[in-house]
Symmetry: C2
Subunit: 120 residues, 2 copies
DNA sequence: CAGTATCCGAAGGGATACTG
DNA sequence: CAGTATCCCTTCGGATACTG
């Protein structure tokens, strides 16, 4: 699921969901936000392998796709919070299903993927 | 979900599923195969926007991840069929959930994505 | 019909350094 | 703490032409 800004030949629901989920960290961002981790620094800690820049890019795309909304509090130091929109909340069960499938088949997946990995 | 052959820092089920689903056409390939479209030429017709080369690449990755298996019939002209493995079949309900979500929210998705799209 | 080789442009994403 | 600007490298995926 990547942002193809250009050609867009949407065929079915799988295309459409692909358009909003494609991006290396988007599913996890949505998941962590749904779990109540709202602050950018929190998300950064949850996903240390992502660069801060890319996290911001993908958060902005999720926002443009109306899956999350962003609140900026005019305080010092700056404070920002993300939340799922109602629309975004409808996606949580689907993300959950994806994650559960991954968890249930962790052993086999690690084998076929070939990585060592590490627990969160 | 992209093939990151190199670093692999798997955190949770979402990472793991990402590893096997990342690829522009993989979800649809799995879906169409689950629907009984087994031949490469069939899949190509179903996904005309994908190049033949990339379809083969992604099919091979799905095979390496043991989600599908490939049968080559020693006949002329060549005949090839793909099928889901038992493992791959466990993924079908999840793919279905993704597609259903996309279908249910088609209108809104098309608006936020900004594409015109076309039906399959 | 099925598959591969080569070439290439375009995104994606990381590192770093910087501002408010 | 949050965000942006550059720079750069890698990968993805499309086009084309070719072989069995």
């Amino acid at each position: 699921m990547r942002e193809r800004k250009i050609p867009l030949n949407l065929n079915c629901g799988l295309d459409l969901i692909g358009e909003v989920l494609y991006g290396k960290w988007k599913m996890r961002l949505l998941w962590f936000i749904s779990q109540g981790h709202k602050r950018p620094s929190e998300l950064q800690r949850k996903i240390p392998d992502a660069s801060r820049r890319v996290l911001n890019v993908q958060l902005k795309e999720l926002e443009e796709h109306e899956l999350i909304c962003k609140t900026i509090y005019p305080v010092v130091p700056p404070k920002v919070e993300y939340e799922l929109t109602d629309f975004g909340r409808t996606l949580v069960p689907v993300i959950g299903a994806l994650g559960m499938w991954g968890d249930e088949h962790e052993g086999r997946l690690r084998r076929v993927i070939g990585g060592t990995g590490r627990a969160i």
